[in-house]
Amino acid sequence: MKALSDEILMQKVAEGNLDMLKVLFDRHHKHVYNFLYKMSGDSMLSEDLTQDVFYKLIKYRSSYNNGSFVSWLFTIARNSLKSHFSRNHKHHDGLEVLEYKSDKEENEDVEDYSRLQQALNQLDPEDRELVILNRFKEIRYEELAEIMGSTPGAMKTKVCRILKKLKKIYLESL
């Protein structure tokens, strides 16, 4: 089973073999969860959103277009995160909910962030997202470009710039 690629597995799921989704869940749920956690800094929310991502995988399995599974998975994850924040933004008429800093202060007691996480939190959400995704070994520049709707070359340049920025923030905090 491990030999089968994500794409083949997802195709089987789309054809109705739902058990294959368990394999995909095992392979990827931690990455999705960690992406969401690094983005939001909220473990409970990340868990709920990861749940939501895999629900959507079940629900929209037939719309899988045989492209890169990881790209598809993280596109769904990003959308879940975005719609969560924009929904909360509307309901709480809160300011800059997407800005992590405001969240951070509220959650500081609950979550014990690593220094890296603290550095990440100081980046813009867009930049943070790119660099987090870039650091996942399974996401190459091709997949990143697919997720962001850009080209691999542009992604390479952008990620490099963000990494330099992050490095500066991180080293300063040491």
Binding site: G16, L18, D19, L21, K22, F25, H29, K30, Y33, N34, Y37, S43, S46, E47, T50, Q51, F54, Y55, I58, K59, S114, R115, L116, Q117, R135, K156, T157, V159, C160, L163, K164, L166, K167, Y170, L171
Partner: protein
């Protein structure tokens, strides 16, 4: 390359995703450029931080909920789309079903037409019977008519009956014996002659022979009686021979045929 820092290549260099040529150039530059070496070391530190970053582990609730959702979906799938996997394997069964349906259809049609036919036959029999009865009534009433031609018409209705009942025979006999019109009696005789096998008809002929005055009818009756070899007819024939008013050629006829009745 001296003035061309490779800081933009460092992440890829660390990830090992540079092609060989670029990697070589980067290494060359790094060996001579302290700035880039510093950059490399710093970036290494950041990358190490990423690697050392202990990934947050979601609770078991996540897996449980996912598996719950998956089971629920599988269940609803089992209810809703059992046709999809069956599609291929059931081709032959479907064909059989179609064949069975057609057979059933044909059988029902045959049964239907059979019953229909029987019903029609039954109806026809009833109708025929009714028609015969009507004709019989018509025939009998016509034979009682004032007009001789109507009576002849009535007598002629006998052709419609293959097996006329006693009432008809009796009515015809009455015409033959009692009708005042020669033509009616002649027609009645002709009608009755078809049923000469019947004893009633034979007796009627014998009775009529005694009474009949019309020579042509007399000859007809005589010929008929001879033909059927009716022995009872001998007596009235002899009587006719003795009677004064009997036509001479009738007497000759009787004389000629009498020996034939043995």
């Amino acid at each position: 390359m001296k003035n061309n820092h490779i800081s933009d290549l460092i992440p890829a260099y660390l990830d090992g995703t540079l092609d060989k040529n670029t990697q070589k150039k980067a290494e060359e530059h790094l060996s001579q450029c302290p700035d880039c070496q510093k950059e490399l070391e710093e970036m290494k530190t950041l990358f190490k931080a990423f690697e050392d970053d202990v990934p947050h582990v979601p609770t078991n609730r996540l897996r449980n909920k996912f598996e719950e959702a998956l089971e629920a979906e599988k269940e609803s799938l089992g209810k809703m789309v059992p046709l999809v996997p069956k599609k291929k394997s059931n081709w032959a069964t479907n064909l059989l079903k179609v064949a069975a349906s057609i057979a059933l259809l044909v059988a029902s049609f045959q049964m239907g037409s059979l019953f229909q036919q029987r019903k029609v036959d039954g109806d026809m029999a009833i109708l025929k019977d009714e028609t015969l009865q009507m004709k019989q009534t018509a025939m009998l009433s016509l034979m009682e008519n004032q007009s001789a031609s109507k009576r002849i018409q009535g007598v002629n209705y006998i052709e419609e009956f293959e097996h006329p009942d006693e009432a008809i025979i009796q009515a015809l006999a009455n015409r033959l014996i009692h009708d005042e019109n020669d033509n009616v009696r002649l027609t009645a005789f002709e009608a009755l002659s078809k049923f000469s096998a019947s004893d009633t008809v034979k007796n009627v002929f014998i009775e009529a022979l005694g009474k009949e005055k019309n020579p042509s009818i007399q000859i007809g009756i005589i010929e008929m009686l001879v033909q059927i070899q009716e022995k009872k007819a001998i007596a009235p024939m002899k009587k006719l021979l003795e009677q004064e008013d009997t036509q001479p050629f009738i007497k000759e006829q009787i004389k000629a045929v009498l020996p034939k009745i043995t």
